[in-house]
Amino acid sequence: AQSVTQPDIHITVSEGASLELRCNYSYGATPYLFWYVQSPGQGLQLLLKYFSGDTLVQGIKGFEAEFKRSQSSFNLRKPSVHWSDAAEYFCAVGASISGSARQLTFGSGTQLTVLP
């Protein structure tokens, strides 16, 4: 069974600073990897995804993530954080179940606080 670990429960950065959120996964095959963001009281928004190909993927809002198979990692980065980036970030690994059904296994999330 697949699993996802987000080792940082809470991260605080200053506005304008760079950001890296860690994600490690466990999955027997080539994983489908995702990062979602959840703002307070809001739903889950897809930031970016990796299926295959280039291991550095670009997402929305200036985020990027790098897939490293040797480290089983898919860390999320942003060069300069904005106050509006304060939210909960979830890494997820997707597995095919049957047909088009996909099962996402989520990490426990990382709460990002941005200081002015």
């Binding site: 739903g43 889950l44 179940i97 049957s98 047909g99 088009s100 059904a101 099962q103 426990s108």
Partner: protein, 112 residues
């Protein structure tokens, strides 16, 4: 237009009541899901339907019954609500050829 929409967004109800959360997607996707997010923000799949057929049924009390009248709708009915059912319930959908799951805005259920 909202791609995956859920109603109601907020629901406060008493223990023992029966309630339903409705979900509709206008993306033309074949598969729909219900996920539960608990108070610690942990997200876990509950059910998945593909073309109205139940595909995934995780270990969920049988008080929870999903119903899919057509592939664009997946409703969640909960009988005899308990305090522990308080959570955020997310509906989602995905496409046959794709691997991305799109989520609704969530339904905040509080059982008092």
């Amino acid at each position: 237009d909202t791609a995956v929409s859920q109603t109601p967004k907020y629901l406060v109800t008493q223990m023992g009541n029966d309630k339903s959360i409705k979900c509709e997607q206008n993306l033309g996707h074949d598969t729909m899901y219900w996920y539960k997010q608990d108070s610690k923000k942990f997200l876990k799949i509950m059910f998945s339907y593909n073309n109205k057929e139940l595909i995934i049924n995780e270990t969920v009390p049988n008080r929870f019954s999903p119903k899919s009248p057509d592939k664009a709708h997946l409703n969640l009915h909960i009988n005899s609500l308990e305090l522990g059912d308080s959570a955020v319930y997310f509906c989602a959908s995905s496409q046959v050829a794709g691997n991305t799951i799109y989520f609704g805005e969530g339904s905040w259920l509080t059982v008092v």
